[in-house]
């Protein structure tokens, strides 16, 4: 069976479009490339830190209260991240508003803590955090590229620390822009269509794997059949030989006697 490579697993196990984790924050921040970039970096760092720490502590956390413990670990990292952003990138902080604080309840982070970090070694958890964080970032960028194009007519990116613009590209004139793409409904709509695209890719992949499995099974069955027939033939031949020898043995004493 073929395993998906790194890039394919970013699509096939995408936290957002396939697993539907961490949806709320994405819909809120993907109105511009700046916010999507900020959110991706924050989630990636918090996910990495919390996964590593929880994995290191996994033997000391009692099973009954693990959820509150995970939440406190995550909330601490998020508070640190929030304060750092507020201090060093105040413009980004103003734009993203309460969404940074709400990274605490981002299901991706708690979900990975529960599904991976509480069971695996530190290295595995760190790798898992990187894959999931990158998948999340890709999802956010594809959302914000579409929403920013239809809602603001183009794209712009500025330095989060100084607020200076790095580049700006405007394609759609004012009259052709669809304002609702930067609002909630545009977010839902873009999300639905992109999720369908990703699901379509996953369906094709699953079908191909199923077909592969079927072919393998047919091959195995044919091989088994051929083996069985060969064994049968060998058995027949052996029986024939034994019979002939027995006849020979029966005939010989008769000849001698004669």
């Amino acid at each position: 069976m073929k395993k998906p490579n790194f890039w394919q697993s970013l699509i096939l196990e995408n936290p957002l479009f396939i697993q539907y984790l961490g949806v709320c924050a994405v819909l809120g921040v993907t109105t511009s490339l700046d916010n999507a970039l900020g959110m991706s970096v924050i989630v990636l760092i918090v996910l990495l830190c919390s996964n590593v720490l929880i994995s290191a502590l996994r033997k000391f956390i009692p099973n009954e209260i693990r959820i509150p413990v995970f939440i406190v670990v995550i909330a601490t990292f998020v508070s640190v991240a929030e304060m750092l952003v507020k201090a060093f990138a105040p413009i980004l902080y103003d734009n993203m508003g309460s969404f940074i604080a709400l990274v605490v309840v981002n299901c991706i982070i708690l979900g990975r803590a529960e599904a991976c970090a509480s069971k695996s070694t530190i290295g595995e958890s760190a790798k898992d955090a990187l894959v999931q964080g990158l998948g999340y970032a890709i999802a956010q960028f594809s959302m914000s590229i579409i929403r920013s194009f239809f809602g603001n007519g183009g794209w712009s990116l500025s330095n989060p620390f100084t607020g200076k613009q790095i580049f700006e590209l405007t394609i759609l004139p004012e009259s052709l822009r669809l304002g609702f793409f930067t609002k909630a409904m545009g977010g839902f709509l873009t999300f639905g269509i992109l999720a369908a695209l990703f699901t379509g890719y996953k369906n094709r992949w699953d079908d191909a794997r199923k077909e592969e499995l079927k072919q393998e099974r047919i091959k195995a069955a044919l091989k088994m059949k051929a083996e069985r027939e060969a064994a049968k033939a060998a058995k027949l031949a052996a029986e024939q030989k034994a019979k002939e020898e027995a006849e020979k043995a029966a005939n010989t004493p008769a000849e001698v006697a004669a």
């Binding site: 539907y20 984790l21 961490g22 949806v23 709320c24 924050a25 819909l27 809120g28 209260i65 959820i67 509150p68 939440i71 406190v72 909330a75 601490t76 998020v78 508070s79 929030e82 304060m83 309460s98 604080a101 709400l102 605490v104 309840v105 299901c107 708690l110 609702f180 609002k183 909630a184 409904m185 545009g186 977010g187 839902f188 709509l189 999300f191 639905g192 269509i193 999720a195 369908a196 695209l197 699901t199 379509g200 369906n203």
Partner: protein
Amino acid sequence: MNYLSLFLNTVLIDNVILVHFFGFCPLLGVTTKKKSAFGMGLAVIFVVIGSSAITWSLYRFILKPLKLEYLELVTFILVIASFVQFIEMFLKKFIPSLYKALGIFLPLITTNCAVLYATMQNISKGYRFTETMVNALGISVGFFLVVYVFATIREKLQKADTPRSFKGNPIALIVTALMALAFSGLAGLV
């Protein structure tokens, strides 16, 4: 702002799911059946009101006098998580029928951003205690309304013939977009 208009505003116009996107994960997760949507909605109303009362008092009487405002996030999420755990134990012991009805949805509320959003909004908007209660009720009733309406739509949707890639969540998201569009028509109400 009087209490009625604050309530209507949070339920219909500033709806927590359709305008602010908060509480969206459970919306996708539990709305495949009307019954589970109902249970989730009730549980959220309960938890939002309870934890709003606790966090507001904590902030007003402990964090603020001690100048520990920066611990807001950690305190609030801890209150919510332990409140949920406490309610779970309480219901299990004293009202087992309700506990059974709510089932898995109760622990899931910890990661429902609608709850954290409600508690933090009470503080950032500077509400008094009565306003906090009305705001919490409005947010949770708004959540309940959308989740329940959405579940009824989704039950019909399962019978519809959608393209394979759109089956399940993607088409549900597009339905949400249309619902948000419909709700935005109520914007001039208050």
